[in-house]
Subunit: 174 residues, 2 copies
């Protein structure tokens, strides 16, 4: 009745980031067809006070990166938020996937005891367990879904299967 | 380095559904201010071919309900999708929370071996592990985020804290 913390994070974040690459690729096709510039595309948003597509994708990458580093005591590499083109964003996702691929299940021993703090909420912390369940996982899917929704709102040909990516279906012989 | 399957699902789904109740309450205030009818509110959507707000909330509830029932071998109660008013939707969320509250951690023993099938994909299944990680968790947050995004897109006064809900922050004495 237990599951490895590694399994609910690292390989699944990689699977979802690979799905995001495909979602973004479909978004690029939509933008080309509508003759939107890269700037128009990546600055698109659902509400005036919400982050635009480009920032949503950067945060999706960072939530995955920091979840793995914070729960293992590693120091995550810093990525400058300078992406401007389609190729830049695909490379950002690839860099994040490459970083995640270095982690092993054993590194998550003691994850529950780690204190996770944020500069925007001084003198408070989430323990590793609550950070994982209440913060990192919900945030990862929040930004992934919002990126998807911005592209779908713009008219990109997307469905749920694009968001979920390559699930491990097996043939049922029954 | 392991976490209880119960802990990544049941209490967190309850926490998120309680957050959804508050998000919906803010959406109601926005709708009242703009003199939107309940039908206009719950039929709002981000793309013409995507489910509207009402359906997004129903599915959020159902993903949580079925995740718990499928991984434990229980039979989930059937909820008719007839909600039309603000009170109806709050009651649907409450019914789902009440159902989730009946589960205990021990019921998830053997979760990984359960076969999860869907009528829309015959002759294929996801094992319990992959259903949990690749399907149920991403889908739950997909529909929760989409409900939030529809309301934010309509001008509801919402921020990330409303989505995340009541996290277990602790004071840091260091």
């Amino acid at each position: 009745m237990n599951i490895s913390v590694f399994e609910v994070t690292v390989p699944q974040f990689i699977l979802s980031l690979q799905a995001l690459k495909q979602v973004l690729s479909k978004g690029k096709a939509m933008a080309d067809q509508k003759k939107m510039t890269a700037s128009e595309l990546f600055q698109s948003r659902l509400a005036p006070d919400q982050f635009p597509l480009g920032r949503q994708m950067q945060i999706t990458c960072d939530v995955a990166k920091f979840c793995a580093s914070r729960l293992t005591g590693e120091t995550a590499p810093s990525f400058e938020d300078k992406e401007a083109t389609y190729e830049d964003f695909q490379a950002r996702i690839d860099k994040t996937i490459d970083y995640l691929r270095q982690f092993k299940a054993e590194q998550f021993v003691g994850y529950e005891k780690r204190k996770v703090t944020f500069p925007w909420y001084p003198n408070n912390y989430l323990d590793g367990h609550n950070y994982l369940v209440q913060h990192a996982i919900p945030n990862f899917y929040f930004h992934l879904t919002t990126a998807y929704s911005i592209l779908r709102h713009l008219g990109t040909d997307l469905g749920k299967a694009d968001y979920l990516g390559n699930q491990s279906w097996k043939p049922d012989s029954n």
